[in-house]
């Protein structure tokens, strides 16, 4: 039971209708992927490869065009608090201060203030924002905002964490700290994580598995298991080998796409 895949999809395809050109655009095609309970997978791919579409389908924001998809053995009917999403642009509610942002989820689920207070405080402490609780999102740095966005979803005790290039807008130092914290938190909370990035280094640093996707239409080109113990040292030879392997695959992926585009009508 424990090793049954949490997210399982087979032959998943997503096509959008391009209204301006009256044709269909295939964002991702024939995706077959299994993510096990407690597994941390990272997805890399050139921009426009449909990785965000895939994540939005898992989140329930968008519907699949065809194929099979189950989460915890059930089909998806829409967004839900069991699948937490962290967006690249943070998506904090600007009219709520930090604490109110974190309280948003519990409130919507009908949890009383006295019940949620301790959890919310603990979550703010976990991400190191307890002293900033009364600040509004625009008063925070990008790093603090993403921490807050993380606290806002983790307070709901989700099983699955879907992250769409969450650290892309951060400076290198902040990114490094947050990567480390995320690694620790996801292990502690036994989260199943799908993490989208365009940084190969980040993918190898965080993932139990790295999934490489090709450019549009997005397909899975490789699924590499990273067997380096944590914490991982990005300067070690083993890490470098993986990084080279993923980079090569990624290069192949974009070459395949370029070739297919050249052949295409």
């Amino acid at each position: 039971m424990n090793n049954a895949p949490v997210i399982a999809c087979q032959g998943l395809t997503k096509a959008y209708r391009d209204i301006n050109r009256q044709k269909y655009v295939v964002a991702c095609k024939d995706i077959t992927l299994q993510i096990d309970r407690g597994e941390f997978i990272t997805v890399v791919g050139p921009s426009g490869c449909g990785k965000t579409s895939l994540l939005y389908i898992f989140a329930g924001f968008e519907r699949k065009s065809s194929g099979q998809l189950t989460i915890d053995g059930r089909p998806i009917e829409g967004p839900g608090a069991d699948r937490a999403v962290v967006f690249q642009e943070f998506a904090l509610f600007p009219w709520l201060d930090l604490r109110q942002n974190v309280e948003f989820g519990p409130r919507e689920r009908g949890i009383s203030r006295s019940e949620m207070d301790a959890t919310v405080s603990r979550m703010l402490r976990t991400v190191g924002l307890e002293s900033a609780a009364s600040l509004y999102p625009h008063e925070l740095s990008a790093g603090m905002r993403q921490r807050a966005a993380l606290a806002r979803v983790l307070v709901n005790d989700p099983k699955i964490l879907l992250m769409d290039e969450p650290f892309a807008a951060l400076d290198a130092q902040t990114r490094l700290t947050l990567q480390r914290e995320l690694s620790k938190l996801s292990a502690e909370m036994a989260l199943t994580v799908m993490f989208i990035t365009h940084s190969v280094e980040e993918a190898v640093l965080l993932g139990d598995r790295v999934v490489v996707m090709s450019a549009r239409p997005g397909r899975i080109m490789a699924d590499v298991k990273i067997s380096i113990p944590r914490p991982r040292d990005p300067t070690s030879p083993a890490f470098n080998d993986y990084r080279r392997e993923i980079s090569d695959r990624l290069e192949q992926a974009s070459m395949t796409t370029a070739a297919s585009q050249a052949e295409g009508p």
Binding site: G80, A81, F87, L92, F104, E108, H138
Partner: protein, 290 residues
């Protein structure tokens, strides 16, 4: 005076050494205020001098001093059935204020509610878009004869005209604002467990708040326009009524009194609304350079 002021200021400075800006801001703010008053004061002075020197034809434009004198009578004069412009100022101000308050309150409540529904539910937009754009294209003043015919010379005529006229700009702006609600915020709320039917209140409404306050300011300004129009044509009493009555007896001094009164009331009510919006939008402070 200056001598005694300076030590007091310095004393305050010493006490608040942690944030000297707080103290420095006050004279700065006062200075800017004085700067803003300089031009109006100069214009009034020139106007008075021009009157005294006989540059203006007598009996045409009154001097500032004549304006103030007639204003005094209008405010403090004995109430008499023989002259409407004696001692009626407070009553007229209250009448106009009441009409604006009632009309604007109706327009704000219905306009914001309707605008949010219109912007958020595409069905609502499909149903009402044509009708609203047609009604919006009719200048509100064109409704005056109809309104008087329908309501008679009665308070409700003025209140209806204000509410009806201010409703459309508020509703259409709020609808446009609601349509601009960032998609990620909607998605974030859904993902945090907000049921779709509650999105309007939990995300669209607060997200539209900045646009809503801008729309309310436009609506309030329009309310003052419409109260004057309706008092000139449709109801008795009030500043518009005073304006029209003064015109009919060639009392330009009273006309100026009424104009300045309306301007001051419009300015004060707008400032009040801005204060409310500053409080409601305090989460935005520093975001837009204020």
């Amino acid at each position: 005076m200056t001598e005694s002021n300076t030590p007091a200021l310095c004393g305050g400075f010493d006490e608040a050494t942690e944030d000297p800006k707080q103290i420095l801001l006050l004279p700065n703010w006062l200075g800017r205020w004085a700067l803003g008053l300089m031009l109006p004061a100069l214009l009034i002075l020139l106007w008075q001098i021009a009157g005294n020197l006989g540059w203006m034809p007598p009996g045409s434009i009154p001097t500032p001093w004549a304006v103030i004198e007639s204003w005094y009578v209008w405010i403090f004069g004995p109430a008499t059935p023989l002259a409407w412009h004696s001692g009626t100022w407070t009553l007229y101000v209250l009448l106009s204020l009441r009409r604006v308050a009632a009309g604007f309150a109706i327009a704000a409540a219905t306009g914001v509610t309707f605008g949010l529904l219109l912007g958020w539910y595409s069905v609502m937009n499909d149903i009402f878009d044509g009708l609203i754009n047609f009604l919006r294209a009719i200048p509100t003043t064109a409704w005056v004869p109809f309104t008087v015919f329908f309501f008679g010379i009665h308070e409700s005529a003025a209140i209806f005209l204000i509410a009806f006229g201010a409703f459309f700009p508020i509703a259409t702006s709020v609808a446009a604002g609601a349509r601009q609600t960032p998609r990620t915020l909607i998605r974030a709320a859904l993902m945090l467990g907000t049921p779709p039917r509650r999105l309007l209140r939990r995300v669209v409404l607060p997200s539209t708040l900045p646009v809503t306050f801008a729309a309310l300011r436009v609506g309030l300004g329009l309310s003052w326009v419409l109260v004057i129009v309706s008092e000139m044509l449709a109801v008795q009493g009030g500043l518009g009524y005073a304006l029209w009555s003064a015109y009919q007896v060639n009392r330009l001094d009273l006309i100026v009194d009424a104009i300045v009164t309306v301007g001051a009331l419009g300015l004060i009510s707008d400032r009040l609304l801005v204060q409310v919006s500053h409080y409601a939008l305090r989460w935005q402070r520093g975001l837009i350079g204020r």
